[in-house]
């Protein structure tokens, strides 16, 4: 009789690795995503449409293409990969840092989207008012824009984190499927499905993924509502 309720060491390891990879990808994305969202909503410049399309590319491309492109760029013989190896002795291929990078690229559009919607809803007139009161660009951004887009930032972070836990295609293409190093939850699940008697593993890992994803989405929505109430708009 298989044990349906206790996680094995391999499963725990995959969970831990997924959490770590997702967290690092979110931290890596946070500032660039805020900057890009601000650029896309508040500034008019040539090439804005192109930038917008580039940011959203991972949403429409097969993840395996992203993984392959990363491999070309950051592989041991890729231009950036060789440089990183030479200059900083950093290797991305087959490491969890590489998994975090692949996850970051995949979840970047999710973060930007969520922040962008928040920025579009934040009244630009308030920034104008702050300007007439003597606030410089940075000052306005920190005291007015950022607090007003905070619900979107938090929602974006939680959504990207939850999605990052389950990134499969780009990760397996770029960094492979190495237990303890790059084998995150979906990769472990994939391996379990490939092994005879892997059913218990598969059920555990699938359940875990569902619970994490669901909690992430509920938490994101709850946070956004709480913040919107705090900022004085109805949820």
């Amino acid at each position: 009789m298989p044990d349906w309720f206790t996680l094995t060491a391999t499963e725990l390891q995959a969970l831990q690795l997924s959490l770590s990879v997702a967290l690092r990808s979110v931290l890596f994305n946070l500032l660039p995503a805020i900057a890009i969202a601000w650029l896309l909503t508040r500034r008019r410049f040539p090439g804005r449409l192109l930038l917008d399309a580039m940011v959203h590319l991972p949403l429409v491309l097969p993840p395996v293409v992203i993984g392959y492109l990363l491999l070309l760029l950051f592989g041991v013989r890729g231009p950036l990969g060789a440089w990183l190896q030479h200059a900083f002795d950093v290797r991305l291929v087959f490491t969890s840092t590489g998994a975090a990078l692949a996850t970051a690229v995949m979840s970047f559009p999710l973060m930007v989207r969520s922040m962008r919607i928040a920025l579009e809803n934040a009244d630009g007139g308030l920034e104008e008012a702050a300007r007439t009161l003597g606030a410089s660009v940075m000052d306005r951004f920190c005291t007015i824009t950022l607090p007003l887009m905070l619900p979107g930032v938090l929602a974006g972070v939680v959504t990207a984190f939850a999605a990052g836990l389950g990134e499969f295609g780009a990760v397996i293409t770029f960094v492979g499927n190495i237990p303890g190093e790059t084998q995150t939850l979906p990769l472990a699940l994939y391996s379990a499905l490939q092994t005879p008697d892997g059913d218990t593993h598969a059920v555990h890992l699938a359940t875990l993924s569902c619970v994490l994803g669901l909690s992430g989405l509920v938490l994101a929505e709850w946070l956004a509502r709480a913040l919107r109430r705090y900022l004085g708009r109805t949820a």
């Binding site: 104008e128 008012a129 300007r131 007439t132 009161l133 003597g134 606030a135 004085g232």
Partner: protein, 367 residues
């Protein structure tokens, strides 16, 4: 002086505006909705840049496209009160008020406590903007703009989003700011009532152009104004002094040119300077002093101008000992009476409307 010259072309309309008014007092930019008033406000504040333009306030040039001078909005020190208040929802009322104060570049002259008292904001300080009524929001927005230590206060239809009772709640505070703080004000409005209450000077605007400019009394006689406010609202605005109050009838006698008129004495005091409006439709002209009439107010003057108004009516401007009044009578009466420039005439006034008190520029105090 405040000198403004602005040119801005947009696909839907073009703005080509210039005016020059004394610094002290309130200049009203008056025109119908969509004549470019808000664009003008944003141009003066520096939120948008004109194709070409020049703005000088006192000795300082804020904008001169010919010299490549364009002070950014955050350095212009122009207090802007927006039509929609634009209070920061994540700050309390106090936080909103202090926002500009904390960023003021010089020692504050306008103090926090003074503004709170002047605008009656004490009970609101700990509230959030979303807990305020429309009128309260505008008072906070006014206070916030004042505390940024502006050298010019720009008000873009601050009462337009309020209903009539709420407007009456805010207007007295605007009068207080006008009378007690020595800050030049540009007041943008399409409500002539507000202009009558607050302005010392008026710039008439139509489709992005300046139609006429001058002090309020002169502008109230301006034929171009007739097109903007209609014949019914047209009437001379005059400033007078309360000479005496008849306690029995509760009527105040106000000196006006070479004569005087009586108005409702409600809340008036002897010696007070008041602003009156004599609507053109409420004036009756007579060639000789009439007798046996119920009308109490009678003045004598000389016709200075006859302007055809529409098919039926003529506008008659009369000099009553240095004060100009305007009457609207039927063209057939004007013909029968053989009215002409220089003719001596009697004016009967059916009603005089009190339009608040007068802004005395000599009587300014700093808070």
């Amino acid at each position: 002086m405040l000198t403004v010259q602005l040119r801005k072309r947009r696909s839907e309309f073009s703005l080509d505006l210039q005016f020059s008014v004394p610094e002290s007092g309130v200049v009203a930019l008056f025109g119908a909705s969509g004549c470019g008033k808000s664009t003008t406000a944003n141009l003066i504040a520096g939120l948008i840049t004109p194709d070409s333009g020049f703005i000088q306030l006192g000795d300082e040039v804020l904008l001169d496209t010919a010299q490549n001078i364009n002070q950014p909005a955050e350095q212009r020190r122009i207090g802007y009160v927006f039509q929609d208040a634009r209070l920061f929802p994540h700050y309390t009322v106090e936080g909103n008020l202090r926002y500009g104060l904390q960023r003021a570049r010089q020692q504050p002259v306008i103090k926090f406590d003074a503004v709170v008292t002047l605008l009656g904001l004490e009970p609101l300080l700990q509230r959030r903007p979303q807990q305020l009524s429309g009128g309260e929001k505008q008072r906070v927005a006014l206070g916030r703009a004042l505390l940024a230590q502006p050298r010019l206060l720009l008000l873009d239809e601050p009462l337009a989003s309020l209903d009539q009772p709420r407007r009456e709640e805010v207007l007295p505070y605007l009068e207080r700011v006008r009378d007690q703080l020595k800050i030049p004000m540009v007041y943008i409005s399409h409500q002539f009532e507000e202009v009558l209450r607050l302005a010392t000077h008026v710039v008439l605007m139509q489709q992005g152009r300046t139609l006429a400019q001058g002090d309020l009394a002169a502008m109230s006689l301006e034929p171009a104004l007739r097109g903007l406010i209609g014949a019914e609202a047209l009437g001379a605005v005059v400033d007078g002094k309360v000479q005496e109050i008849d306690e029995y009838s509760r009527l105040a006698r106000v000196a006006l040119g070479n004569g005087h008129v009586s108005v409702d004495a409600n809340q008036l005091q002897c010696g007070q300077r008041v602003r009156l409006q004599l609507l053109a439709r409420d004036l009756i002209l007579a060639l000789s002093p009439p007798q046996g009439l119920s009308v109490r107010n009678m003045l004598q003057g000389v016709i200075t101008r006859l302007t055809p108004d529409d098919r039926h009516a003529t506008l008659v401007t009369v000099d009553v000992g240095g004060v100009m009044l305007i009457a609207r009578i039927t063209t057939s009466s004007a013909d029968e009476m053989k009215l002409h420039d220089g003719l001596c005439i009697w004016i009967l006034v059916k009603a005089v409307t009190l339009r608040g008190h007068v802004f005395a520029s000599g009587d300014t105090r700093s808070v």
